[in-house]
Symmetry: C2
Subunit: 350 residues, 2 copies
């Protein structure tokens, strides 16, 4: 099995090393041929390791970085004034090939800005996008963008489709993932101009494009990839989280109503627990920053050890699945398709 | 109590008179001082009434209309070629003051086009919007627009805020409803230009504007009104429906897993039922077409009798709450505020 090294921004997130260090230990313990580099304040990380009776070794090392990007640091500030931040040094390890991927629970804006500055984008990709997986009736759906790009052109949406398809192929081993374009179903409009144009581009892209989908299709398993601009994607994701929390809260309240309902709740507990486990958002932790010349995963800032481990596992999967090569291939395949008519005409004319 | 007459597009929706007629009978039976006009094919409506041993009278009458707008009729087609449709005749009853409000489960695009053509918009309102209520931790949230307008300017969003606030005041009797602008929380962007500009307009509008909110705030009870463009609102609504269905499906599946879980399910059944009742989407049926010079409610096309009755009750509430007058007042109040600085300067100069 291919040896994979993950650089971890050990200081990122709401909990920092208290979460990132044990998750890193768990990754090394549980998986084969994976190494980690914990990036951050050496002493703090050392202390955390000592507390867990762990030490550095061939599979786990520390890379010192003297600064920390705070959760509320503006991206420009992180980029300009924190050149020795754990986030930045993590990205540089990926850039120099000392790590195959980087994982951070730090602030999204800063992580995107720093990663983009250090790693640059892949050829044929104008803007990186943030992709995540969400549970569906039939498995998982990949949605992008989730907030990196609020004003998108049709070409950007096409690139999101290409990258999303490459991601599904890399991670889920599906050769022709179904791609859908998020739109609305009102009879008189059928989406704005950018979305209409994006549909045309996707239709001619060589991707397995299934046409327009609606918000509920994210959870219906209709397609593998749902493409949308970052504003819409972010709202859809947050609204979904809001509904899920409301439902959980109401269910809890109903079971706590009186003695009888509490007893019913106790009896139903194993079922409710199994149900919760299945839709546990921690299982879906780890958003991919796609389109960069390097694999970067953003963990939720509030992630606990279990959730952060999922983000680390996602990074390993993306590396082993050859994500970057697959995006390059998809971009190449697309460029061949759009170039073809021109060549045919040229051939006919000669 | 003020006498209210509701014109009902009896032919609209997936089920037509089989649902609209019994719901109308129920409204008349259950509420005081409400009258209904069932608009559509006289014979079909008569037959439906006979089957239910009901007859027309002072509180329930039939208005014949010879055509029916189909669920897949393009709005322009409905408008141009079905001038005697039940939908159109319903809107005309409202226009002529023979009814105080119209309710239809027919296709949204056609209903909006026909209503706008017949009733026109209120002074100061450029575009009508679709508003609905969604459940929140603390009660209900009103969201608009939900699909009537995909490309909105900042001024349109401001008008949605004004109309949404008027709706909450009319229906919930809250004098200063809290208004929020739907945005995304990513640190580096904070929304596109239209949303940024809309926030400025809302801040100076005299409304009780609470600033930006995110997708989950729809369900958190943070504000009474959430303002967004129709594309975003539609996606948020559909995504929410998708999650809710997925959760319900998974819960059902877990309870059906084996004999033990089935037994637990039986015991928990009353609790699950109470929970379901509380979040039953049928209770929230009835979207308001706001900004028209008349009260028009759109019911879900698949509505059953209970759901359609909720849409009828909403129409009654909006009429009794003086919705149109309140929108006019809010628009007037806004125009006074924006005009004020000019007057002050003129006064200072004189």
């Amino acid at each position: 099995m291919r040896e994979v090294t993950i650089a971890i921004d050990a200081m990122g997130g709401d909990h920092g090393p208290r979460v990132t260090v044990p998750a890193a230990l768990e990754l090394v313990h549980r998986t084969e041929a994976t190494n980690v580099v914990l990036v951050g304040l050496q002493e703090v990380i050392q202390a955390e390791l000592r507390q867990r009776r762990a030490a550095t070794g061939t599979r786990l090392r520390i890379q010192h970085a003297s600064e920390v990007v705070k959760m509320d640091d503006p991206p420009a500030h992180a980029l300009r004034f924190k050149k020795d931040s754990s986030m930045r040094v993590m990205a540089e390890l990926v850039k120099r090939g000392e790590a195959d991927a980087g994982v951070s629970a730090g602030n999204t804006g800063a992580l995107m800005a720093v990663s983009r500055f250090v790693l640059k984008t892949l050829p044929g990709i104008d803007r990186p996008a943030i992709a995540t997986t969400l549970p569906s009736c039939t498995g998982r759906t990949y949605v992008l963008d989730l907030g990196a790009n609020v004003d998108c052109t049709a070409e950007h949406l096409l690139q999101f489709g290409i990258m999303g398809a490459a991601l599904v192929t890399a991670v889920e081993h599906k050769e022709r993932p179904r791609v859908g374009l998020l739109n609305i179903g009102e009879e008189d409009i059928k989406g704005n101009e950018v979305v209409k144009r994006a549909a045309e581009l996707l239709k001619d892209s060589g991707l397995n494009f299934q046409g327009n989908v609606e918000g509920d299709d994210i959870y219906n398993g209709t397609v593998d990839v749902v493409v949308c601009d970052g504003f819409v994607g972010n709202v859809a994701l947050k609204a979904s989280e809001g509904v899920a929390r409301l439902i959980a809260e109401e269910l809890r309240r109903e079971f706590k109503r009186n003695l009888f309902t509490r007893a019913a709740g106790l009896i139903a507990l194993p079922v409710i627990r199994a149900f919760k486990r299945k839709l546990d958002p921690r299982r879906y932790n780890g958003a991919s920053l796609l389109g960069l010349n390097g694999v970067i995963i953003k963990s939720h800032g509030a992630a606990d050890e279990f959730a952060f481990l999922q983000a680390l596992l996602r990074a390993v999967e993306e590396v082993r699945g050859g994500l970057l090569r697959r995006i390059a291939e998809q971009v190449g395949a697309y460029q061949t398709i759009v170039a073809q008519p021109v060549r045919l005409i040229a051939g006919g004319g000669g």
